[in-house]
């Protein structure tokens, strides 16, 4: 049975179902309690689960992210929320030096089953310190899984998988999608890690798009379809592990690839995807891989400038045209 949910509702459903099923699961973060989270994800959960399991934290990102690790190491299954992904920088040591390495440094004896939910993306002119998409830092850090869904059903299914997984998972939620709706399976619904979703099939060009950028890619594809250009839009859904095979297979078919990511251009995830396609599909590529990313500038405040630095549908179209030229 499908029902229509927003991303926020789908995430909440995953949280609630998993918390009902497993008493070790709990959420913590700033304003997640009675307030329900500034993006409403935990709305109503405090009423059901109470103070202990829907835990408001002080503004101490390094502290509560580290505490999530501590709880996970001794048997809990915490889900910590970073209100803005930009604040990952505040908790960075705990994320990259502690959480990502706890298992490896112990020779595989420790497990750190925790989920760190963080918002990414520019929305509503919140400027340079509240608009970033820093998933590349995490993807560059071995030991973390990194998830970046683009629709409510994947949000629910991937979040459930993340909560049940024994590895630490960075769960990137795009701010522009929280209040966008989509069909979501009721009850048990999981999406495995490492399986990309081909959101649209096509034979002229492969477009790999991450998170919200999937929507830009689909809009571009729709537009170009009018001209007879058939884009294959791939949503990797999980960046670590990444479903490289699906990407390569598509590019081997189309011979052309565009990567769209809201992270900054240089040394980001799009660069990784472009580099791997360049290597694995070398003999199949008819044109260089094109990247459509946020410019290498901080995100400016004023909306027209914000729009300018973030990939838009026209940028996606331009990128696709470039590889087809």
């Amino acid at each position: 049975m499908l029902k229509n949910l927003t991303q926020a509702e789908a995430l909440r459903e995953a949280l609630v179902e998993e918390m009902r099923a497993d008493s070790r699961v709990f959420v913590m973060g700033e304003d997640v309690g009675p307030h329900g989270g500034i993006f409403t994800v935990t709305k109503g959960m405090w009423e059901e689960f109470g103070d202990e399991r829907v835990r408001d934290t002080p503004i101490s990102e390094a502290g509560f992210v580290g505490a999530a690790l501590g709880a996970a190491l001794v048997g809990g299954r915490p889900i910590a929320e970073l209100m803005f992904g930009d604040f990952a920088a505040v908790a960075m040591d705990q994320i990259v030096n502690q959480i990502a390495k706890a298992r490896y440094m112990s020779g595989g004896k420790a497990i750190a089953p925790l989920v760190l939910r963080m918002t990414i993306g520019a929305r509503g002119a919140t400027a340079a310190q509240h608009s970033q998409s820093p998933h590349a830092w995490m993807v560059h850090t071995p030991g973390l899984y990194v998830v970046a869904p683009s629709n409510p059903a994947d949000c629910k299914g991937l979040l459930k998988t993340a909560i049940r997984d024994d590895n630490p998972v960075i769960f990137c939620e795009h701010k522009k999608l929280y209040f966008e709706g989509g069909p979501v399976p009721e009850g048990e619904h999981t999406v495995p890690f490492g399986v990309a979703d081909i959101k649209r099939e096509g034979r002229h060009v492969t477009v790999v798009a991450i998170s919200y950028m999937v929507h830009k890619a689909l809009a571009a594809a729709e537009k170009l379809a009018e001209e007879g250009i058939e884009c294959e839009v791939i949503d990797p859904r999980t960046l670590v592990p990444m479903d490289w095979q699906t990407v390569y297979n598509s590019v081997k078919k189309t011979g052309r690839a565009v990567v769209i990511d809201e992270g900054h251009l240089t040394a980001g995830v799009a660069g990784e995807i472009a580099a791997r396609i360049g290597k694995e599909c070398f003999d199949y590529l008819d044109a260089p891989v094109e990247r459509v990313c946020t410019t290498d500038t901080p995100i400016p405040f004023s909306p027209q400038m914000e729009e300018f630095v973030i990939p838009q549908v026209e940028d996606a179209i331009a990128g696709i045209r470039t590889v087809l030229a």
Partner: protein, 326 residues
């Protein structure tokens, strides 16, 4: 809640100066709120209504060549330190003519020429920056000081601990001003720390800590003056906790349902603007007529600022690529 004691100003004209600043801040922020509700500004407006006495009292103890670091709730600090309401409003509205050419917005106004090191969108991050500015003040000589504003919830950030420890260790000329408005977004102080007086944390750094009535501009001024003088003499930093309250939610669009009924009203009883005005009037320093004139002047100053700002063009989109590297 803060004690109801209201101290007397050190100088009457001084209090009048401060009063005018309180009114300016009040009117400016009311306009920002209206601009927000009229959807004339992008982003959020963390308005300063209710906390005016803190920015005014502290800044009044500063000189032009002193510095301030500010927060996401920074309009008051910027205005107090000499910020031009036109340029502020233009920035808040995302215009090219704004303080930051529309790149910063409400949370990132800076003007080094006025000693405004900058607002900050990362809670607590301004504290080590203030320590560093103080470090350079000390190293370059002279006797400038830095006032560092932050909230009650910011006092739980590691940056608070590290920044104050550095300033204490090195006897830096910094005055740390905690604006305890009882909330970090929806989380009341008793749900984010076990202590009542954040000033008690000063003990852990070996510096003076003081609690002051943050609704009483003279009390704030007096405490700030002591701390500033101490800093100027090279005796090191202090921590001043101002008990205050914000009239609105976390930002203008936040209905703040998390606050117990009556709490806001109780605090509004002690409105810093009203408190200051009643002293001035009862002491005969200000007449109702003069007050009306001040109000009118400030109203027109701020209306002009808003109108001017609203008439400014937005930056061309590609200006986004500028101003990254020097």
């Amino acid at each position: 809640m803060a004690k109801a004691v209201t101290t007397r100003p050190t100088q009457d004209t001084h209090l009048l100066t401060m009063y005018r600043q309180l009114v300016r801040m009040r009117v400016f922020e009311e306009r920002v709120r209206d601009v927000y509700f009229a959807a004339l500004m992008p982003g959020l407006a963390h308005v300063y209504l209710g906390q005016e006495a803190v920015a005014v009292g502290v800044t009044e103890a500063l000189r032009e060549d002193d510095y301030v670091t500010s927060t996401h709730r920074g309009h008051g600090h910027v205005l107090a330190k000499g910020g031009d309401p036109k340029l502020m409003m233009a920035e808040i509205m995302g215009r090219e003519a704004g303080y930051c050419k529309g790149k910063g917005g409400s949370m990132h106004i800076a003007d080094l020429s006025l000693g405004i090191i900058g607002a900050n969108g990362i809670v607590g991050a301004g504290i080590p920056i203030a320590a560093g500015a103080g470090l350079w003040m000390k190293m370059r000589g002279g006797d400038s000081v830095v006032a560092c504003f932050f909230g009650d919830a910011a006092s739980n950030q590691g940056a608070f601990h590290e920044g104050i420890n550095l300033a204490a260790l090195w006897d830096l000329p910094v005055v740390f001003v905690c604006e305890n408005n009882l909330y970090g977004i929806s989380v009341r102080q008793n749900r984010h720390q076990k202590i009542v007086d954040i000033a008690d944390r000063a003990i852990g750094y070996g510096i003076p800590g003081e609690v002051v009535d943050g609704m009483d501009v003279s009390a704030v001024y007096d405490a700030a003056k002591r701390a500033v003088e101490r800093a100027r003499k090279g005796l090191g930093p202090s921590l001043i906790e101002c008990k205050t309250y914000r009239w609105m939610g976390h930002h203008a669009g936040d209905p703040a349902r998390y606050r117990p009924e009556g709490e806001l009203d109780a605090w509004k009883e002690r409105c810093p603007v009203k408190l200051c005005r009643s002293i001035l009037i009862s002491d005969g320093i200000l007449t109702e007529d003069e007050d009306a004139r001040i109000q009118a002047e400030v109203e027109s100053e701020m209306r002009e600022a808003e109108e001017w700002a609203a008439a400014q063009p937005f930056p061309a989109p590609e200006r986004a690529l500028e101003d990254l590297y020097a």
